[in-house]
């Protein structure tokens, strides 16, 4: 049986990859993908904890489903925004979209 720490290590690695992607990439879509990775790392954590600690209740699964739904909605909104910005400015590079400042 694979122990809990494997899952946690895996999730931490996945989170770090996602974080790196979100931090380092210029392309907004890639940043979004990084964020998705981080979200999924969190979901793995949730599921793992649920499986190993409280398998008798359904909470962990429900939480995971809600996070999927939120992530999907977020992607939908995010992509729509990127398309709109691209149409305006012909770019989706994150460091060029810096209008929201003083």
């Amino acid at each position: 049986m694979i122990s809990l720490s494997y899952f946690l290590v895996f999730a931490a690695a996945l989170f770090c990859i996602g974080l790196y992607g979100a931090m380092a990439r210029k392309n907004s879509v890639a940043i979004l993908m990084g964020i998705e990775l981080m979200l999924n790392a969190v979901v793995i954590n949730l599921i793992a904890f649920w499986r190993f600690r409280t398998p008798e209740v359904i909470t962990g699964q429900a939480f995971a489903v809600i996070v999927f739904a939120v992530a999907a909605a977020e992607v939908a909104v995010g992509l729509a925004l990127f398309i709109a910005i691209y149409r305006q400015r012909q770019t989706i590079a994150a460091d060029e979209i810096d209008l929201l400042k003083w």
Binding site: L19, D98, K101, W102
Partner: protein, 724 residues
């Protein structure tokens, strides 16, 4: 209904009418006078019922109709007020009710009810007349209705209320309340035509003059209350109280309390009944409309003064032993007799028809005061009783004359004074009813023998003075009676006899029935009222009629006054002065032609102008009282007290407050309150300026920051807070 309950109700209708007219019906003239007359008619009927009950009770003096209620607590007892009807009240009630009713009816005509509105009449001035077209298209000037008609009736009603309260009250305090209500109303009514400066001045003069006396009277009441512990008649006129009052000494010249109180109360009467030296207000009070003059000078206010001294006669005479008059009585005899003669001399030279009557009133009131002064209680009450009728009659008659002549003035457009008797003459045929009634009143005033009321009452006073061998009073009053007859005949001759001296008097017309009816009503009493007091041993007719005045009114006193023996000398004296005065008056004035001066002017010389100017009392008082009062009020009160002290103090306060405000502003409001507000705003601004470099708009920088803060928080939590 208990008779005392009815007495309580007597003053109510006029008061009710006053409020109803003021608040509800003042727009409707007809409704207002209907209300007013209805109210006094109710009081009149009630009064007559009381009079009849009183006469029939037989022992009213011992058992007056009375009832009391508690008014306000004084310590552990109550101050009680109530009503009191004894024979004196019955007599007073009788003439008060009659004259008031007559005056109300008369006012309807006098204030020109039913006439058109004036062309340019304004409230506050007498009506100036209206222009009317008859069927032929001719324009006529006719009298116009009084603009403040309803208000007039409201004031009259309040006045009547005051008089009824005064008459029926059982104690001196509510008497004083009625007394002051009348004082207020006389002020309002004398100044009724308030747009006339002379009316305003007269109103103020009357008010202030009587106020001077009233204050002293109030002191007397206070002193009496202090000593007797009550102001109710049954207490203060009881043996014990009178004894106490005569025994108590006072610091004033060693006089007894009875004398001091008597004098103080009498001073109230001096003011109210216009005795010398406070007589000056009454002639000026003629500025009011004529029914007011009658109301004030005959029926109510001035009678109230005499009523008071008759009422408090037990106090005034307390301590008199065996016909020896008290100090108070001596003072009263002097002032009364002096005023009687003094005012009569002035009346001789006055040309204004109402002013003659005003001085005549002062003179007649002097008679009554003098009568009280010599202890002639019944005679004083009798003369008060008859005088009320014939003087009201004369005033109303003079009003009717003025009204008629005013009509002539409007008709002819002649500019003459409709009140000046030298502008009249020959009105006998134009105004027959007024003439005959005025003649009756005049004869009664001058004491025309046997027939008229004035003869009986005046004769009684003279007889009393004679019986006591009080020669000074007797001779003074006899001489005053001569002058009275003289100026009365002068008035009648100038007004009614001979030929008209102006166009206006040629076109005078008789007044309406509303004015002549009261004249007739009062004329009946100007004759008949005297028959109620004929002494029993008068030759031939004595004893034919019961001597109500003596047997009934005289009962009011605890010790019944003895009837004086009949004597020929006072009778002959009064016959002589009455006929002599009348004859002389007719002789001197029968042939006065238009524009001619008074026939007395030449022979009397400087005396004439002295009398004409009323002994310069107005000028004297102006010099002694009015001008110093003005000077003090200007220089002391206004310039020094008001401007310097009070205003100075106020300005000082303002200045201190101003500089204190400056201090607050400079040292508290601006630095602290404003400073704090500014500091908050400025700090936020500075913080924002310092923090805004973080806001780069670069999303990944934000993420780094979030990461750093998240890790920082995590570390902090794990390493410092979450220690096991």
């Amino acid at each position: 209904m208990e008779s005392s309950t009815l007495v309580w109700l007597l003053p109510a209708p006029p008061l009710l009418a006053f409020f109803l007219i003021i608040f509800l019906t003042n727009r409707s003239k007809g409704l207002s006078h209907t209300l007013g007359i209805l109210a006094v008619l109710l009081s009149f009927i009630g009064s007559m019922v009381i009079v009849v009950l009183g006469l029939r009770s037989g022992h009213l003096a011992e058992e007056p109709f009375t009832s009391v209620i508690n008014w306000f607590p004084t310590g552990d007892t109550w101050f009680q007020i109530g009503v009191w009807v004894d024979p004196l009240t019955v007599a007073t009630l009788f003439f008060v009710a009659w004259t008031i009713l007559m005056i109300f009816i008369y006012s309807v005509g006098y204030q020109n009810y039913g006439q058109p509105k004036g062309d340019h009449d304004v409230p506050g001035l007498p009506p100036h007349g209206a222009t009317e077209k008859d069927e032929h298209g001719h324009e006529h000037r006719v009298p116009s209705i009084e603009p403040m008609y309803s208000r007039f009736f409201a004031f009259l009603a309040l006045f009547s209320f005051g008089m009824y309260v005064l008459v029926v009250s059982n104690n001196l305090l509510t008497l004083f309340v009625g007394w002051e209500i009348m004082g207020l109303c006389s002020y309002l009514l004398i100044g009724f035509w308030y747009a006339k400066p002379s009316a305003r001045a007269a109103a103020i003069k009357a008010f202030l003059t009587t106020r001077v006396a009233d204050v002293i009277m109030l002191l007397g009441l206070a002193y009496l209350y202090y000593l007797a512990g009550s102001l109710s008649y049954d207490v203060i006129f009881s043996e014990e109280t009178l004894h106490l009052l005569t025994e108590t000494g006072t610091p004033f010249l060693g006089l007894s309390a009875a004398v001091v109180i008597g004098i103080f109360l009498f001073i109230g009467t001096i003011g109210k009944s216009a005795q010398w030296p406070l007589h000056v207000w009454l002639p000026d009070a003629m500025e009011g409309p004529t029914p007011v003059s009658a109301m004030i000078h005959a029926a109510t206010m001035v009678s109230a003064g005499v009523y008071l001294v008759i009422r408090v006669f037990p106090i005034i005479s307390a301590g008199a032993v065996h016909g020896e008059p008290t100090v108070t009585m001596n003072i009263m005899a002097f002032i009364g007799a002096f005023t009687g003669l003094f005012a009569a001399t002035i009346a001789v030279t006055q040309n204004d028809i109402k002013r003659v009557l005003a001085y005549s009133t002062i003179s007649q009131l002097g008679y009554m005061i003098a009568a009280i002064g010599i202890g002639a209680y019944v005679a004083a009450a009798f003369h008060l009783f008859t005088h009320a009728f014939f003087k009201a009659l004369l005033f109303l008659g003079s009003g009717s004359v003025i009204h008629g002549v005013e009509h002539g003035v409007l008709h002819t457009d002649e500019h003459v004074d409709p009140q000046d008797m030298f502008n009249m003459g020959g009105l006998r045929k134009k105004m027959p009813v007024t003439f005959w009634t005025f003649l009756i009143g005049g004869l009664a005033l001058s004491g025309f023998p046997l027939l008229t009321a004035g003869f009986w009452s005046k004769d009684e006073i003279l007889a009393d003075a004679f019986a006591q061998s009080n020669w000074a009073v007797f001779i003074t009053l006899a001489f005053a009676a001569l002058l009275t007859a003289f100026y009365t005949m002068r008035q009648i001759t100038l007004t009614f006899l001979g030929q008209p001296r102006t166009e206006a008097s040629k076109h005078a017309v008789e007044s309406k029935w509303t004015m002549t009816l009261p004249l007739v009503g009062l004329a009946v009493f100007a004759i008949g009222a005297g028959w109620l007091g004929i002494t029993n041993d008068f030759p031939i007719i004595g004893g034919l009629l019961p001597n109500y005045m003596h047997d009934f009114v005289g009962e009011t006193l605890a010790e019944h006054p003895e009837a004086i023996r009949f004597n020929w000398i006072p009778l002959l004296t009064s016959l002589a002065v009455a006929f002599g005065g009348l004859f002389l008056g007719w002789l001197v004035y029968r042939n006065v032609s238009a524009g001619e001066a008074d026939p007395l002017e030449k022979p009397l010389g400087p005396v004439y102008s002295l009398l004409k100017n009323k002994y310069y009392f107005d000028e004297l008082y102006d010099f002694i009282f009015v001008r110093p009062a003005y000077w003090i009020s200007r220089n002391f009160t206004y310039l020094w007290l008001d401007r310097r002290i009070i205003d100075g103090f106020l300005h000082g306060v303002a200045r201190v407050a101003y500089s204190l405000g400056g201090l607050f502003r400079n040292y508290i409001d601006r630095p602290i309150v404003n400073g704090f507000g500014d500091f908050v705003g400025e700090s936020v601004k500075r913080l924002g300026r310092g923090a805004r470099f973080i806001q780069t708009g670069r999303i990944q920088q934000y993420m780094v920051m979030a990461l750093v803060i998240a890790f920082g928080t995590l570390f902090y939590y794990l390493f410092f807070l979450a220690q096991p």
